[in-house]
């Protein structure tokens, strides 16, 4: 395409108009209240918070603009507010865990009286002399945001906000480049597919570009399904336009005329957000015919997946778009050769496409300067589990697990010891303490037996049983197997059965060898990525936590005191306080009775091991003890007058 200054002019006009509109809003000088309204914030009560703010503004006759933004990634602090009250001289201030009552207090105090209510402040959003900025907090300062730079700061439902931050400028410059030039930049940047496998993105685009075909397709894979992973959802809900911009650039580079965003229907807010963004982009001439006045045209539509985990696998995803059962197909042919409706198809993850606009804007060398040689750029993890500051974290590749878990996310709460980190969801593996200094990048993690996966990260403390964790993930993959190939369909069922047996204390010594061999065969023999990686949680836990498996099998003991069939609760009569009844009422099955010495004891035949008594026992006594194996609990006879009154009265009437 000829260099065409018209494209830049058209773009600058768009951006100028957007800035003018926002400038006019700012000129009014009224305070703005940004509230996080992504799915995660809503779950934490953001809707009530927003309602409370609206109520208090109305009741007090206060004038402020409420802007719903996406997610900042700080899940532990949701719902978050950022109030910018320019006339007070304070910088924009971020408040955390703002429930409805706090919201009312903050609004009245700050907007009415000009007092920022310091007790609820997380920090200021800018450097200043009055309030410590959030950047003094490692959870903010140690992150490096490329994909999530604007998440939680702009209104995802208003394209002006994105344009104001130079959004779509990468598209404008890309449309002036030759297609090969764009592919060259992406190749040089070293960007690798963020869906998990880490395939070089530039290479994939080149394959599709070189295919001559009647039509080509680009699919954005937002079929995120790992338990505990929610990066893609958050990115779509917080900054859909960066994704769209990447998608359009990709389509232009490979020569596609059709694009799809494949989002699962369980993400209703993400679906609505991306649909709205597509409409806005179309209105602005950034999609549809002759984008930005160039001769490139593209239509984008949203396809809602029905939530089968396996549809995240690209061939299964394509099958499901075509209206067939979502079952993976043998590759080759790869989708870039023969994909949707037989056309060459590029399938890229949300994070991959969202990385593209910054790369085009700031160049391949800039992107290469972040991260490692083999894995440039950043990685986004949803860090969950036993960690102080969970949430979405975007870090430079090559950051060690230790830095991420202990420095950025605050380490393990409650003075517990770190035990393992599970990376990559059900396809990943559990790494123990000695791997904490492993740098996070595609190759190092794979080498250690885990994988980048889509970015789920579960931190586990000493109370987690690794056999139980492996069982949990197997239960998931087993349920989500499409049933096509022998190894995945039947093999994972056997793995799960054996693990179930072991956690119930019915494990046999030969089970461990069967488990390992079968897991290796499934890894080698399965048809698709789901089956090939499903045994990873088993293989890594066998490799690094063999002692726990052996304790379960040989001693019928669960070292983490987690597996219900292998533990027992008893009350230490030395510590139990005579006459105290705290535990009695908490027991759902009337297993607790009074001993002859007027202390309490547990009837092991009735106990369901819920642990309520342990929670309710006053800390000054701390008399309830959990042991494994269950035989360690002393048996105390229940006196005849202490038989349980079955609480069945009235149940029939």
């Amino acid at each position: 395409m000829a260099k065409d200054t018209k494209i830049i002019e058209t773009y600058e006009k768009l951006r100028g108009a957007a800035r003018k509109r926002l400038e006019a809003e700012r000129a009014e000088g009224i305070p703005s209240i940004r509230i996080t309204m992504s799915t995660c914030a809503r779950a934490a009560g953001a809707e009530e918070t927003k309602k409370a703010i609206e109520d208090v503004l109305e009741a007090q006759g206060l004038n402020a603009r409420i802007i719903s933004v996406g997610c900042l990634g700080h899940c532990y602090a949701e719902p978050l507010l950022i109030i910018d009250h320019p006339t007070t001289g304070f910088p924009p201030i971020c408040y955390y865990n703002v429930d409805a009552n706090k919201a009312k207090l903050i609004c009245r105090s700050y907007l009415e009286d000009g007092d920022p209510a310091f007790e609820y402040v997380l920090g200021a959003m800018e450097e200043n002399d009055l309030i410590p900025p959030v950047t003094t907090f490692p959870r903010f300062s140690m992150e490096q945001r490329v994909v999530m730079e604007l998440c939680g700061l702009i209104d995802p439902w208003n394209i002006d906000h994105y344009l104001d931050k130079d959004g779509y400028s990468a598209l404008a410059s890309a449309l002036q480049m030759e297609r090969e030039e764009i592919i060259e930049i992406v190749t040089k940047s070293g960007l690798r597919g963020r869906g998990g496998a880490g395939f070089p993105t530039g290479k994939k685009w080149k394959f599709a570009f070189e295919k001559s075909a009647d039509g080509k397709v680009v699919i954005c894979n937002a079929d995120e399904g790992d338990p505990g992973a929610y990066m893609d959802r958050t990115i779509i809900e917080s900054n859909p336009h960066q994704l769209l911009e990447g998608l359009i650039i990709c389509a232009y580079a490979v020569g596609a005329d059709e694009a799809l965003v494949y989002v699962r229907a369980e993400y209703p807010l993400a679906v609505r957000t991306i649909q709205h963004a597509i409409e806005e982009a179309r209105e602005y001439g950034l999609l549809g015919e002759n984008i930005l006045g160039s001769d490139f045209s593209l239509s984008v539509r949203v396809f809602q997946g029905s939530g089968a985990f396996v549809c995240g696998e690209e061939t299964a995803l394509i099958q499901s778009v075509e209206g067939r059962r979502g079952m993976p197909q043998h590759r080759p042919p790869y989708p870039v050769e023969k994909g949707l409706w037989g056309k060459p198809t590029v399938v890229n993850n949300v994070k991959t496409l969202s990385s593209v606009p910054p790369i085009i804007r700031r160049g391949a060398d800039w992107f290469r300067s972040i991260g490692t040689e083999g894995s440039p750029g950043t990685a986004i993890f949803s860090v969950v589990g036993n960690v102080k500051h969970p949430g979405l974290v975007e870090i430079a590749m090559g950051t060690t697990l230790r830095t991420l878990i202990f420095d950025i996310c605050g380490g393990i709460p409650g003075k517990k010891k770190f035990k393992a980190v599970q990376i990559g969801g059900p396809s990943g593996g559990c790494l123990p303490e000695q791997f904490l200094d492993t740098p996070i990048d595609f190759d190092s993690l794979t080498q250690a037996g885990a994988m980048m996966g889509s970015g789920g990260m579960v931190i586990m403390d000493e109370d987690s049983c690794m056999v139980d964790v492996a069982r949990y993930f197997l239960e998931f993959t087993q349920k989500e197997s499409c049933g096509k190939c022998t190894f995945c369909r039947i093999g994972t069922k056997h793995l799960l059965n054996i693990l179930n047996r072991i956690t119930k204390g019915e494990g046999r010594e030969e089970d461990l060898e069967t488990l390992r061999q079968l897991a290796e065969d499934i890894k080698k023999g399965s048809l698709c990525g789901l089956g090939k990686t499903a045994p990873n949680p088993v293989l890594t836990s066998l490799r690094y936590f063999m002692d726990e498996y052996e304790a379960h099998v040989k001693e019928k003991r669960c070292p983490a005191l987690k597996c219900r069939d292998l533990i027992a609760y008893y009350i230490d009569l030395e510590k139990c306080a005579r006459g105290c009844e705290a535990c009695v009422g908490s027991c759902p099955v009337e297993a607790i009775f009074t001993t002859k010495g007027r202390k309490k004891a547990i009837d092991q035949s009735l106990c369901v091991k819920c642990g309520e008594c342990m929670t309710s026992c006053p800390p000054e006594y701390d008399a309830v003890v959990k042991v494994s194996p269950p035989e360690l609990a002393p048996i105390i006879e229940r006196p005849p007058d202490q038989q349980p009154k079955r609480a069945m009265d009235g149940a029939d009437s």
């Binding site: 043998h330 087993q478 349920k479 049933g483 096509k484 190894f487 369909r489 093999g491 023999g525 399965s526």
Partner: protein, 219 residues
Amino acid sequence: MVQIIVNGKSIEVEEGQTVLEACLSNGIFIPNLCFLKDREHPHASCRLCFVEIEGRPAPVPSCTVNVEDGMVIRTDTPEVKRLQKSAFKLIMSGHPCHAKTCPTEKPCTLMKIAKHLGVGLSPKPLEKLERDIPEVVDFGFMFYFPYRCVLCGRCVHVCRTQNEGKPLLTFARRGFDTMVAFFSDPGENVEAKCRSCLACINICPTAALVLKADERKTA
């Protein structure tokens, strides 16, 4: 024609064939269940037809690779046997063998594979698994016995071919409980059409699909 070397023996085979086809047509048996000659895209689901090909890091299903001149193939290495045995045991753990009442012609496909692999029909050390699916499903004029079915998918494929891409048979349910199901548009009388076809019944390796009339005879 191209030259390939299988287990040290050089053979001449037609171009465009898969390794599996080439071996089978030259009297070299490779276990298989889901393979069908006319398929454009291999189903590759039974995971029995593994072979080792020189230059490839791991065994591959031979139904997914086309022959190339000078290809060196081994069908009998320990690694190949191990994967085949493992897949076969998995299949047998979900396929209760009732040889006496089973209407297949003996030795059945599974027995032949067992003999080739030198293993019995028992899945040991794996346990027999029970699937949470009905014992028998009435497909109108035929019965479907899910417990006999090894989900090779041949019936679904031939049905798709016979009905111009719109099969009456397809997979239903997920994971371990996957089975074949029969769908037809309401009011459509498919029986006459199906009766004149019966491709699915004829191609089933385990007699999971049986005409009602035949089933009564064996009962």
